[in-house]
Amino acid sequence: MRKFLTISAGLAVTAVAAPALAQEAAEVADPSANTAYILNTLLFLIGGFLVMWMAAGFAMLEAGLVRSKNVSMQCLKNIGLYSIAGIMFWAIGYSIAYPGFEGGFIGIADFPYAMQGVGEADVGTGYSVASDWFFQMVFCATTASIVSGTVAERVKVIPFFIFVFVLTGFIYPVVVSWEWGAGWLDAMGFSDFAGSTLVHSTGGWAALAGALIIGPRLGRYVNGKITVMPGSSIPLATLGTFILWLGWFGFNGASQLAMGTISDVSDVSKIFVNTNMAAAGGVVVAIILTQVMYKKIDVTMALNGALAGLVSITAEPLTPSVPQALLIGGVGGAIVVFAVPLLDKLKIDDVVGAIPVHLMAGIWGTLIVPFSNTEVPFVAQLTGVVATGVFVMIASSIVWFAIKYTIGVRPSEEQEMLGMDIAEVGVEAYPEFAKG
């Protein structure tokens, strides 16, 4: 009973402290506005560090799913892309994402983005602009992380970083400006709460373009036969998935963008629950399907199922009821189980399953929003999905091709055989362990 006793005790104390306040509440610098400012900012900071942590999640997930000869490279790409994303999103990204237009297609505000000065707080916004920038930046980095997984094991490091440079500085920001930046999609009524389309599909499309243009890993699809290339470490992949799951509470929860009122914080709580339930649904469905289809439960599918569930709920984590969240996430899990082998049939080599997880589940999540949030027009959702796909595919393809036909994107066959760790990093991931 202590769980309730304590609460009432807590209220009691406040109640006593309160009355004195009552009178001046109206006139003086309303403390609750300041308190709201602090709490809103705190939400961005907590959400921000949780999403930053997702960079580690992607690094571990990918390190675990590539072969050991490419693990160091995957680690390098992940820490590098996170750093580049931060710099680019400050240099021009944020200014393109929030150009200050109404219903526009593309624009740019002053750049690089000027953070506030020491001790400066802008009560007008209701939160610290630096905390908002930080929270937005980590979303940008997430988009790049998605790409690194799909094109792993066969892209040289410098070409990859060049792609990240453009993706985080230009492609992603433009898409964001359409919706969160008050652009034309937003004007249409398109709704993407935390970025199923803006973040995940964008990353997924860029990854797909890469996979198509770069081609599969050497020996992956030989005369119609699929060569399985199992990942080097399942526990690392599992760790990465748990990290991402944790980070997602910040990703979706802090996308409420405010915690200064009891209704906002209650909504954040509801988002936590729905986010968790969608992931759980994705896991359970992936487990059941793989058991039924293969008589074995592929743990990597369960991991992808969790992530697909999370991506699916990201477009609208607030309005669904728990059963709806379970359903939305569960379908995400099913998408993974069916899409992964499908991509193999199409000879599209997606090393970590980022296309099913981020692109396909992202589309599903975006299109299903009207199901729980009736104010959202389906046509707007469809438009958003298509427009993002067209733009990102074209823009990414241009960049991938430009790299391919200039400095080249793939290592030599011998280098790829040898592994990128020896070829480009010079440091093997597990130098002491014999390969069996």
Binding site: I226, T227, V228, P230, T290, Y294, K296, D298, T300, M301, V337, V340, P341, D344, G353, G436
Partner: protein, 120 residues
Amino acid sequence: MVTTIGGVMKFIIAIIKPFKLDDVREALTGVGVTGMTVTEVKGFGRQKGQTEVYRGAEYTTNMVPKLKIEVACASAVAAQAVEAIQAAAGTESIGDGKIFTLALEDAVRIRTGETGDTAI
């Protein structure tokens, strides 16, 4: 240095199922062979590997994990050693492995320099 005493010793190479190692060791000790060297190997043969499904793609690992046991011994005990291994390593199922016998021309114990079958 040592004079080669051809043929008085044998070098036995046995490929067995990993979980049979302890049985084989005991069997060899039984016939007085206490030393041996073991190596992790992969085998190809009649026995096929497990069929696994990874991310929706089925595949068979046609390599089967095995252990290779190398035993040097005097010709006199070679036959019993081979028998002991065969008895201990058998499971009547495909993939039990092989025992190969080669002539060992000479052996040296590094520590003492002893040679021939005293070295073993």
